[in-house]
């Protein structure tokens, strides 16, 4: 037997030696802007093998010494193909032409990796151009709301930005902007998201079958990558809408070496209203606005080294001022994120690529007031938030076309500030000074992770992504560790069909204490502690994928997700109760299962998709609903979305969106009775009090939600710029969709509050 092994080993080594191989590697980028193309396809017809570019446009393919027929393709770009005799390692940067600039060249995107060829399942990528065509609320294009139109992803309520992915809550989504976690994605209580579509290059959302490189949240990973800035020419674009205006400018600092992009957005209701408010009041005025700024610089040292510095700053501000000369009062609250990422790409060799990232993310909520009168000053301030410093190194290793290995480590330092109240008194007359802070002290924690995964191919039909993710969390002397297995497989059937299956385990160490439904800025991020354990989930999914013709993609996926140590407010508790947060919550389990259908047309004059989700979503906590299982608030049996966009010609396009969802489940008080409460244990002393009681938790349903939005774009090429005039309407047939329900004591009736009837919008945008 030993001899047999020796023989096989020597034989194998001989075969491997005999197959001389060389590597073609480099970057794939947009020919006009120099933007890196993510997940562009590289395919060799001769060996029928291929690969894809990574997040930084890097690709590497190792092939036997022979003639290779390579094609490089990307959706919306003309495919480049060529034939060479491969007898040495080659570095090659591929520049693909955008189809919009290629009016005369036939675009052959059929080489783009088809959905059935991808191992990864439960992942959705929506081009930003398509997101921009979806009719938006008040004309403000919103990435998060576009995601809500996809199967398995639900909105919480009318107009809100939170994502409920396969039964998870919004805090279970890891939202990464250039690799940095963003903790609050809402402007104006969730009616708008913090992401400015003009600054975004690409958006992907993974809701299951998580590769090992992802971790830290239970339900989804949403990666948003900012544009890098045009390396060759200066360009700008902007828009003026009824809510906000924005402007983006990009271009080279040093041509082909360094580029920048800056994008800014601000609402202006307060600016428009201020002269009228000031005129009509005695020195008292107030307002609200939000703004955000995205900026990025990238520098290419050479083909091996590249540096990116990106930052995002966004703030919502509510303010109130009163000043009559002697007496001055200022009050208000604001909240916002600041994120920064410094990334260094290093192509170590033709098969190994490294990316080192340093990240900073801060979310802070401030509530304050200050009164000044004569020589006295009184001030109070409440702050809460979370601050992260992190570092990570990720490696991509492509030894041959059958293996794409990724591995890496990361560490993150969290500082949780779950609410501190500062009181300041300064009285010159009495020499009385006070400056004190009351409330929770910041909690510091460290989170670590390491991972390894291999996206491998076995033969022509079978591929798998097998990985392992290990994470640890240290807080207040307590250490949690979590090994997590990740497996995704694909089997290609005859006729461009594929069956896919996946299993993934996830652990989440940080939690959001929130009022479900409304994205309040007071939402509080808190860590796992000695008493509050990390949330955990495991998910299995089975799916079928097929491309019909060249234009249509079909997927059907079924999934089951089990969740443990989920966090919920105890019955009777609220964010507003004055007690330590750990005493207000309890942990329980949840399950979510369902079936998702997705048909998408990505090419042609008419594009769009139909998504349908049939799902069940339950929760069980020991002391909620008497320990009985109950439907989650966002248990939505049916969820349908239809998104269609049609371009009549280069100048006019129409788009429409129709959504339908089963009503949210709610708990309503249904009856009242006299409760008998013994006081001393011998029945001689008791109290009789009226109590109002709900039935089982969440056993009522709001009315179904449905809505039609339409929009039209009118484009015109001018001499030096292109302008687009957009008009449309949200909720065209003015459906009174339920937002919340309350009991009107004066009339003994439940009332349903609906937020948005038909809301028209217009928007003017330009590009140069």
């Amino acid at each position: 037997m030993k001899q047999l092994f020796t023989f096989v080993f020597i034989g194998l080594a001989f075969v491997l030696q005999a197959q001389e191989k060389y590597t073609i590697s480099g970057y794939i980028e947009d020919a006009n802007t120099g933007e890196k193309l993510i997940e562009a396809n590289v395919f060799d017809d001769a060996t029928v093998s291929g690969t894809v570019s990574n997040l930084y446009g890097f690709y590497s393919i190792t092939l036997p010494k022979d003639t290779v027929r390579l094609s490089f393709s990307y959706m919306g770009y003309a495919t480049q193909s060529f034939e060479i005799y491969l007898d040495k390692d080659i570095s090659l940067t591929i520049r693909l032409e955008d189809e919009l600039t290629l009016q005369t060249i036939e675009v052959t995107a059929d080489k783009v990796e088809k959905i059935e060829e991808q191992t990864q399942m439960s992942k959705i990528e929506v081009p930003v151009a398509q997101i921009k065509r979806i009719p938006p609320l008040l004309g403000e294009v919103d990435v998060m709301k576009a995601m809500q139109l996809l199967p398995g992803i639900q909105s919480g309520g009318e107009g809100t930005s939170g994502l409920y992915v396969r039964g998870g809550s919004p805090d279970q989504n890891l939202i990464l902007l250039d690799g940095v976690p963003v903790y609050n994605v809402s402007h104006l209580f969730g009616f708008f998201s913090v992401f400015n579509a003009d600054a975004i290059n690409n958006v992907t959302l993974t809701k299951g079958g998580f590769p090992a490189r992802y971790g830290g949240r239970l339900s989804s990973v949403m990666e948003i990558n900012m544009k890098e800035g045009n390396m060759r020419e200066y360009h700008g674009e902007g828009s003026i809408g009824i809510v906000a205006s924005k402007f983006t400018f990009e271009g080279p600092i040093v041509k082909e070496k360094t580029s920048f992009i800056v994008s800014a957005r601000r609402t202006y209701a307060d600016l428009l209203a201020r002269p009228f408010i000031k005129r009509n009041t005695d020195g008292e005025y107030g307002g609200y606005y939000f703004y955000d700024v995205n900026a990025k610089v990238n520098h290419k040292f050479n083909d091996k080294h590249r540096l990116y510095l990106s930052t995002y700053l966004g703030q919502d501000v509510f303010y109130l001022r009163f000043d009559d000369g002697g007496y001055e009062q200022r009050a208000g609250f604001d909240w916002g994120n600041l994120t920064s990422a410094l990334r260094w790409n290093y192509m170590i060799n033709k098969k190994l690529f490294a990316n080192t990232t340093l990240t900073f993310s801060r979310y802070q909520f401030d509530l304050g007031s200050e009164v000044r009168e004569d020589n006295e000053k009184y001030g109070s301030r409440y702050t809460s938030g979370i601050k992260d410093w992190g570092g990570k190194i990720d490696f991509d290793f492509l030894p041959n076309p059958n293996h794409y290995i990724r591995f890496g480590v990361n560490a993150m330092h969290h500082t949780f500030s779950p609410g501190a109240f500062q009181l300041e008194v300064d009285d010159v007359n009495t020499d009385f000074d006070l400056d004190t802070i009351i409330g929770s002290q910041p909690t510091r924690a460290m989170e670590y992770a390491l991972y390894v995964e291999d996206d491998m191919k076995w033969g022509e039909n079978f591929s798998a992504n097998i990985g392992f993710h290990f994470s640890a969390f240290q807080v207040k002397g307590k250490t949690y560790v979590s090994p997590q297995a990740r497996v995704g497989t694909r089997y290609l059937l005859p006729g461009a069909n594929a069956i896919k299956a996946s299993f993934s385990m996830m652990t989440q160490y940080i939690h959001l204490l929130t009022n479900e439904g409304v994205g309040l800025p007071t939402d509080l991020w808190v860590p796992s502690t000695n008493t509050v354990k990390p949330q955990q989930s495991w998910q299995v999914a089975l799916g079928w994928a097929k491309t019909l013709g060249t234009d249509y993609e079909l997927t059907v996926e079924g999934y089951y997700k089990g969740m443990n140590n989920l966090l919920s407010y105890k019955e009777g508790a609220s964010y507003f109760s004055f007690s330590d947060w750990e005493t207000k919550v309890e942990q329980g389990k949840g399950e979510s299962y369902g079936l998702e259908f997705f048909a998408q047309k990505k090419k042609g004059k008419t594009t769009g998709w139909i998504g349908y989700t049939l799902s069940w979503n339950n929760r069980q906590f020991k002391f909620i609903n008497s320990g009985n299982k109950y439907p989650f608030k966002y248990d939505r049996r049916h969820d349908v979305s239809v998104v269609v966009s049609h371009s009549f010609n280069d100048k006019i396009s129409l788009s429409g969106t129709w959504v339908y969802g089963t009503g949210n489940s709610i708990t309503l008080n249904e009856a009242s009775y006299f409760a008998y409460i013994p006081l001393d244990g011998d029945d001689s002393n008791h109290q009789i009090t009226e109590i109002e009681v709900p039935g089982e938790k969440n056993n009522y349903r709001m009315k179904a939600y449905h809505r039609l939005d339409i929009g039209a774009d009118f484009r015109k090429e001018k001499k030096r710029y292109e302008r687009t005039f957009s008009i449309g309407a949200y909720n065209v047939y003015s459906r009174k969709n339920p937002f919340f329900i309350y009991f009107d004591n004066s009339r003994n009736k439940f009332k349903q509050v609906s937020l948005f009837p038909i809301i028209p919008y217009f928007n003017y945008s330009f590009k140069f």
Binding site: L668, S672, D682
Partner: protein, 288 residues
Amino acid sequence: MKNNIIYIIFISFFMSSCETIVDFELEPHEPQMVPQCLSNNLKGHVLIHVAKSKGIQESGSLDFIHDANILLKENGQIICENPSSLDVGNYICSGIELVEGAEYEMEVSHPNFNTIKAKQILPLMPDIESATYEKVGAYDPLRDNDYDRMKIVFNEPAVTEDYYLVQGFIKNKTGPDEKAYSLWTWTENPLLEETVNSVGLIFTDEAMNGDKVELDLKVDNTFIEPSEHDIYIKLSRITRDRFYYMRSMRSYEESTYVPLAEPVTIHSNFTNGYGIFALESANMYFIQ
């Protein structure tokens, strides 16, 4: 002028997006009997209170049910049948000595309502090893109250899932038939939770299963005069239903003061209805 036009356009768009309020129809509520019976082995009787539920959208006042038929069974044998109604919907089964480990079933019926039932097994009496009272007279700023200390040591049996209620009592020393008054009791131990009206503390054996347990309690000393009062500590092993009921009542009480509080489901063990039938085995321990 330009600003005015922009402002008017802006306001008109926002005015059109004002909230609208419409009626939300709920199925009419069918009135139900709500029996409430919390009893223990020390009372010598079983008191049942039967209220009548009213739909939240209905007008009119709340009421009790005075002519319900009540059946109480011990291990399948009837021990109390149709007790007469006292005041405000109270019914009393007198001369009942509840037996540890026995199964009790309560059935409440009425011609106008569906018959409802609930079952309970009386838990075993807890084994108190010792209890002490210490005059401290200290001030607790969190409760804004002076307090003394009570300590109790008891043996928590392994294997079983147990629920407890601990209470402090005082009785006048003037005679054996004096009434016992419960004391406001609290603790820093996060495993213990206060009950509605703060007449005791409830807890589970989750973190102490099978241990010898020592509880350190603070008691309101406003009314305690050791020379005039006998001091008792009562430890009860309560049923799961009683624990859940007391906990939900406490949460309900707290939620009435808190904006946007999560709704509280009052625990019930009557199938398809409201109400509670819950038992406890109490050990009243004389301290001094």
